[in-house]
Symmetry: C2
């Protein structure tokens, strides 16, 4: 009848500082994976950023892939994944533009997703399932919003909601890559607005 589900003879929770420590590790790992990718980033590098030994790091995240998945979940949990807009009254186009500008301001977010997403298609990458499910979820979510717009007669005739959903996500990812390579030549928000104004009819 302990606080935990299993009636183990003896168990205690983590220390008070433990959650902060884990968070500090996630922050550092986020930066390292964004700058070097998963394969290019090392646990030693992450540990150095935190100011702890590599061994201690492995106490919190037993393997490197555990750390990666934790970083991805953590990033989604604090920043939203675009699926759930905070304001249900907000226009789709406004929500997309707002999220695009928000990402632009937080260093490393776009790098992390762009680099890890593409890297995840390689053999045996631990992030593959995460990104596959993420795209599935996003496609369903946006398809639903486009379907709603279609029912209101506000989708340009001939545009299929599912195709528009996949296209919007693709456009978003692709323009982020171009922006990372030459930020001055690319207007992310403008590109997304241009597409949405093409697909969604005004008023």
């Amino acid at each position: 009848m302990t606080t935990n589900e299993a009636s183990r003879p003896s168990r205690r929770g983590p220390y008070a500082k433990s959650t902060e420590r884990r968070q500090a590790i996630l922050v550092a790992a986020h930066a390292v994976f964004a700058a070097h990718g998963y394969r290019g980033g090392s646990l030693q590098d992450v540990a150095d950023h935190v100011g702890m030994s590599q061994t201690s790091l492995l106490h919190y995240f037993p393997t490197k892939s555990d750390l990666l998945l934790a970083v991805l979940d953590w990033r989604d949990s604090i920043s939203g994944d675009g699926t759930t807009p905070p304001d249900p009254e907000e226009t789709l186009i406004d929500a997309v533009i707002r999220q695009a500008r928000f990402n632009e301001e937080i260093p490393g977010v776009i790098e992390l997703y762009t680099v890890l997403c593409a890297e995840s298609v390689t053999d045996g990458h631990p992030g593959r399932e995460f990104f596959t499910e993420r795209f599935d979820r996003l496609r369903r979510s946006y398809a639903q919003r486009f379907t709603q717009l279609a029912q209101e007669g506000r989708l340009r005739p001939g545009v299929q909601p599912e195709a528009a959903a996949a296209s919007l996500i693709a456009l978003w990812d692709g323009i982020q890559t171009q922006w990372l390579l030459s930020p001055k030549s690319v207007d992310m928000a403008g590109c997304l607005r241009g597409y949405l104004e093409l697909v969604v009819l005004p008023e």
Copy 2:
């Protein structure tokens, strides 16, 4: 007055089989980099694919990054980079669809570009300049074609040629990523056609 420009006292060209050997290395490296990325792929792995020693491989390509750049140039040289359509009479939309289908059929091409392009934004990646210039070139090329269409009155009003160029490229890259993760859920050619039919007016 030797065949070479520099009047070195003694120089001989490579052996007859040398070009085949280099090509075999490029083929193997293409496969390895497509499957594991640049950082995840090893010279030993490439050498094993070719059936030669790692040391011999380094005789042809002195460093790993030399090999990467050679693979990228080689791929562009045999497959075209989308900039120069073989038939100048071909419609833009037809050319894009044809190239998309072509890429889909050759294993590893889409993997190579998608993985290496995103990886190239990481710190100190040797492919960064290649992809930056590639995007610059592609944007200019497509912007030119869209401008041409605009002059013919066949660009939807309100669409800017430069924005459409960046968007088309972004869409293409982004949809390839989704296709790699779940090929059955994504119709690459359909997605591109959908966008172009939205932007380019018929006839």
